[in-house]
Each structure stands twice: as structure tokens, then as C-alpha cells.
């Protein structure tokens, strides 16, 4: 059985995030000897959080320089942990931080990397990764002979590890000199809390299509009302907002736009494929390439004037053939304040 290294970075509060705990669950299920490698400004609390996970060793690269998500420092820390742990399989969560740093680390180690894995299991005695190709349009199962094999698992694919913490972990500090870097992280830009339309942990995803900004039954465009209805729904349902490419692209094409939308909201072929329990698509049109945007949404319903719409037929559980403006007015009214 091959040795496994779980790489995890701490969150701003020093704990391990849900995505890291999901990968821990996967790593523990693989069956090999497990080493945990932690990176952060402070790492003891994170180690204690998972002290009872059965890991044989807890390694850490700790220090102020390693608190910020930045390629040079993250890659140096991860490389040092991999070398110290000397494991054949390295698993980590597909966070923006690790997705930035770990492919380069795999190169430094002479290994290989696979990202956006949705599963990592033992198949016939060797680890096998499942991941999607061509933007979630085909699914492959693959394995590699090169080691170390770095695998980044997409968040939301498995239940997070939920064992008891088990007290204080014995943490071995791995000494790494912070590499010289020309990059300084200066902060974050985010919409105000009540303007935030991307909520990865939301139960509901509302997908807005280009139909919201097209001429309606009265021959006029009602973009302002569309925005009011969409934002109103998001606030009342605490839902996340996704959009088709055609709608977010309109801002660059001089057409009516919804100011609540940016390219960050885009789902589908060139956007994200978020994971939510429920999804409600409104005014979306299109075929297979766009539908991948809600491939990982469990329960799906759609409102559309076209009963034959490719977004919905065979893809949604329920298709309401109706005017989304009218339906959403009632929905918002029923959801109250």
C-alpha cells in the first residue's frame, strides 16, 4: 500500500476548512499510511482539529510568510512537506490556493499532477482518479505510474471527515526559509455582504439566462425589473446566482445588462460548475454545452416559455412552461421579506 500525504492550508482563523476535511475523508479511505502536512501562519490548532484522524505523522510549515496565499511561499512550503513526508500519493483540496501552487510543486518533485478530481479510490490495488474532460462533458477514470502523484480533489464531492479531534497532535515542524518573492498580497475585493451574489454554500442556485433581457410580451425590454426580481429572490432565499455566458457577455456588447452579474457568475461551458442541492433555471436557452453549468446540481427545475428547451428537457426534474417574470414576482411575494 502506498504512503499518502494530505496537504492542507489553514484558513484565516487557523482552522482547516471543509474542503480540507473532505480530502481527509478521501485520504483516510485509501488505506495507506497517512501523513498530514499543514501550511499556515499557525498550524497547531489545525493539527489538533484532526488529531484523531489516524495519521501516522503531522508535519507543518509554519510562519507569517506562509499565512498568505502566494505561489512562491506556498510552493516552497508544499515542496518541503512532500520531501519530508516522502509519500507516493499527495492529496489536497482543489482550493484556489492549492490549484495555483501544487502543479508547479509536482514538477519540482519530478511527479505528475491531476486536478479537479471528483474521486480518488483504490481500484485493483492502485489508486484511480475520476475527473471530467471537455468541461464536464465526459468523465474519465485514470491512473499513473509516476510518483509522487499529486491529486487535487474538487470541493463538495464527498462528505467531510467528522471524527473526534482526539486532543493535541504531536506536530513536527519542517524548516523552510521563506523564498524571495516580488509578490505582496494586499487584500481582497468582494461585494458588500448584501450585494454578494455568489454563495458556494447556498442550498439553492438560481440560473439566469439571456431571456431576462430580451423583449417581453409587450414588445419592450424590462431589464430593471428583471434585476429587481433576481436580486430580490437571492436576498430572500439566500441563494447563489449563476448565469449563462450569453447574459454576462452582453455587458461587452452594448445590450441591456443586469448589473448584478459579472463573469464570476457564469456557469457552463466556460464558467463554473457549482455544487448545490437545488437549482432553478430561469429564461435559459441552449443545448448541451451550456447545460454543464448545472451538472452537479442535484434537484433541478426550470422556468421557460419553450417546452422543448434544451436546458430543461431531460436535464431538469420539472419544467414550468411560463413567464419567469410573472412566476418570480409571485415567488418573491410568497417568500416575504
Amino acid at each position: 500500500m502506498e504512503k499518502i500525504l494530505l496537504l492542507a492550508h489553514t484558513e484565516a482563523d487557523g482552522s482547516l476548512g471543509k474542503a480540507a476535511l473532505e480530502v481527509l475523508a478521501t485520504a483516510a479511505a485509501l488505506g495507506g499510511a497517512l501523513t498530514v502536512g499543514l501550511v499556515g501562519e499557525a498550524t497547531q490548532a489545525a493539527a489538533d482539529q484532526i488529531a484523531g484522524c489516524g495519521a501516522a505523522r503531522f508535519l507543518a510549515v509554519t510562519g507569517e510568510a506562509f499565512g498568505q496565499p502566494r505561489y512562491a511561499t506556498d510552493a516552497a512550503a508544499a515542496e518541503a512537506l512532500c520531501r519530508a513526508a516522502d509519500c507516493q500519493i499527495v492529496v489536497a483540496a482543489g482550493t484556489s490556493r492549492w490549484l495555483r501552487a501544487l502543479p508547479g510543486v509536482a514538477y519540482r518533485l519530478g511527479g505528475r499532477v491531476d486536478t479537479h478530481a471528483t474521486s480518488l479510490v483504490q481500484a485493483g490495488g492502485t489508486p484511480a482518479v475520476t475527473r471530467w474532460f471537455y468541461r464536464q462533458r465526459m468523465e474519465a477514470v485514470l491512473s499513473r505510474t509516476q510518483r509522487p502523484w499529486v491529486v487535487l480533489l474538487d470541493p463538495g464531492c464527498v462528505a467531510p471527515w467528522s471524527g473526534v479531534s482526539g486532543g493535541a497532535a504531536v506536530l513536527e515542524q519542517v524548516s523552510v526559509a521563506a523564498p524571495a518573492t516580488r509578490t505582496t498580497v494586499t487584500g481582497y475585493q468582494a461585494p458588500k455582504a448584501d450585494e454578494q451574489t455568489i454563495r458556494p454554500d447556498a442550498k439553492m442556485l438560481l440560473v439566469a439566462g439571456a431571456g431576462w433581457t430580451k423583449k417581453q410580451g409587450d414588445g419592450a425590454v424590462h431589464a430593471a425589473e428583471a434585476e429587481q426580481l433576481i436580486v430580490g429572490f437571492l436576498r430572500k432565499a439566500q441563494a447563489s446566482l449563476g448565469s449563462s455566458k450569453s447574459l454576462v457577455d452582453q455587458s461587452g456588447e452594448g445590450e441591456a445588462v443586469l448589473s448584478c452579474l459579472t463573469h464570476l457568475n457564469q456557469v457552463g461551458q466556460t464558467g463554473s460548475t457549482p455544487r448545490h442541492a437545488k437549482g432553478l433555471s430561469t429564461c435559459c436557452h441552449g443545448e448541451e454545452p451550456h447545460v454543464v453549468g448545472w451538472r452537479f446540481v442535484n434537484q433541478r427545475r426550470a422556468i421557460n416559455l419553450d417546452a422543448g428547451c434544451g436546458w430543461a428537457r431531460g436535464k431538469a426534474d420539472v419544467l414550468y412552461v411560463a413567464d419567469a417574470f410573472e412566476v418570480m414576482r409571485h415567488v418573491n411575494s410568497m417568500l416575504g421579506t
Partner: protein, 270 residues
């Protein structure tokens, strides 16, 4: 903005997103059915990287843009007929597979080798651009390995904006979790920027730019070196299309209020 940049964009083509894709088993591993017959477009994220590069080069006089592209020569030529009209660049072509099943490690080696071979490239002023992922492999791992091979350790992924300051440093906005951007300042090149969508619309076709580009595109295609990607050590156990087809219940001729009531009830279900 007085400091010119040497901007190298890595990007290749992908099947037109509107095409139906079907995996088949080929002699060298998985492939797409009728792959060479499928209409192709420049990878969307690589396209954004190219447009951002052209925009940046325009703002920094003396800058130059190269497009390093790995793909079957015939397809590259076809795609370049369109891409060449969008932005000024010099093509560096590699003749090899652009399939999503090609390994990123070997692809990175081929791309890095091509960049190292660019005559007169000032590596101290290099900004390496590419898509943060491709619409084929979708791994988001190739560019980091290209940069590592070139000794570049200032790396950014999911970039939506670069703003160059008077002192030559530049501020970068990278996408991170929760719909936020991480803001970083890099004091100087070289650096890698893996682009998300950025903020620029796709440029209109400019026949004059196209004419100028095609003077170098055709010779570059003729000079394209073979870059086989062997996928050593990589084995695909299966490649399948998702089969799940849902039984969609169609609700028609029902008042909007009743539909709304059903939706609200559904939202409340566990």
C-alpha cells in the same frame, strides 16, 4: 506606462463548444470521434489571455506579443485565419496533439521548449500569459509547469485584471473562493498570469491586423516542430459520456401563482 513587456501567450484550439463530442478509443489512448473534422476555435480562456496581452501591449509602447500554440498544423492554420484578425501577435507553432487527453506535464515541456527558442526574447521583461484552464483538459496545471521550467516563481491564476503602475509594478486580481478577488502587487516581471475571463470584450475582426499577422503565421506554421505527447505512465481505464437522462415533468397551462406556490414548497423541502 514606459516599461515595455515581452508577452508570451500560450494557447491552442478546442472543439467548437456547440459541437457534440463523443470519446473513442484511439491507438494512442482516448480521442474524440472525428476529431480532425470538428470545427475548432481558440480556447476561450487562452483567447482572453491573448486579448488582454494585446491590450496591455498597446498601453506599453515597445511591447511585443507572441502566441505559442501546440496543435495539429492543419487545424492551427484554420483557427489562425480567424484569430489573426483579433490582435497583433507573432505565432510560434508546435505540431502536436491539442486533445484534452494529452498530459499537462509533457505539454508544458513542449511549450517551455518553444518559448526558450524564441529569438531575442528578453526573459527579464517576460509576462507569460495563458488560460487558467483549457476547455479541453480543464486541468489548470500546464502553465504553472511551463513557468517553473522557465524559472518563473511569481505566478497568478484565475486572473481577471492586471493594472500596471508608474513604477513598473503591477496589481493583479485573482479569483478566489466565494466570488472574491485576491489583490496582489508584483514589483516586476517575469511573472505568469493564468487568465480567467478578464474584463475585455472580444475584439472585432480587423482585416489589417489579420493581413499583418498572416505574413508571419504561414512561415511559422511551415517551421512548426513536431511535438509528440506520449502520455508516458498515464493510463485511462474509461472515458464515458454521462448517461443520466432525467424524466422531465412538463407543467403547462398552469397559473403563475400556482407554479410559484409549488416552487416555494419545493424550496422548503429537505
Amino acid at each position: 506606462m514606459s516599461n515595455p513587456f515581452q508577452i508570451v501567450v500560450c494557447g491552442s484550439f478546442v472543439p467548437d463548444p456547440l459541437q457534440t463530442l463523443e470519446p473513442v478509443a484511439g491507438p494512442l489512448g482516448p480521442a474524440l470521434k472525428n476529431e480532425m473534422m470538428l470545427p475548432a476555435v481558440l480556447d476561450p480562456w487562452a483567447g482572453h489571455a491573448l486579448f488582454e496581452a494585446a491590450n496591455l501591449a498597446q498601453k506599453a509602447p515597445g511591447s511585443k506579443v507572441w502566441l505559442v500554440s501546440l496543435g495539429a498544423k492543419a487545424k492551427l492554420q484554420q483557427v489562425m485565419m480567424t484569430v489573426a484578425q483579433k490582435a497583433p501577435f507573432e505565432l510560434v507553432a508546435l505540431d502536436g496533439p491539442a486533445t484534452g487527453f494529452a498530459d499537462s506535464f509533457e505539454t508544458a515541456a513542449a511549450l517551455a521548449g518553444a518559448i526558450e527558442g524564441i529569438a531575442g526574447l528578453d526573459r527579464a521583461r517576460l509576462l507569460l500569459f495563458g488560460g487558467w484552464e483549457s476547455a479541453s483538459r480543464g486541468a489548470g496545471s500546464t502553465m504553472q509547469m511551463v513557468a517553473e521550467r522557465l524559472g518563473i516563481t511569481e505566478q497568478f491564476q484565475g486572473v481577471d485584471q492586471i493594472a500596471v503602475r508608474d513604477d513598473g509594478s503591477f496589481e493583479v486580481l485573482e479569483r478566489v473562493e466565494g466570488g472574491r478577488h485576491q489583490v496582489s502587487v508584483c514589483s516586476a516581471p517575469p511573472a505568469l498570469l493564468g487568465w480567467a475571463t478578464g474584463n475585455l470584450p472580444e475584439p472585432r475582426n480587423n482585416p489589417q491586423v489579420g493581413m499583418a499577422n498572416m505574413r508571419t503565421v504561414m512561415p511559422a506554421l511551415q517551421r512548426a516542430k513536431a511535438a509528440p505527447i506520449g502520455n508516458a505512465g498515464l493510463a485511462f481505464a474509461s472515458v464515458t459520456l454521462p448517461k443520466q437522462q432525467r424524466q422531465t415533468r412538463i407543467v403547462k397551462d398552469v397559473p403563475a401563482e400556482e407554479i410559484a406556490r409549488e416552487i416555494v414548497a419545493w424550496m422548503g423541502e429537505e
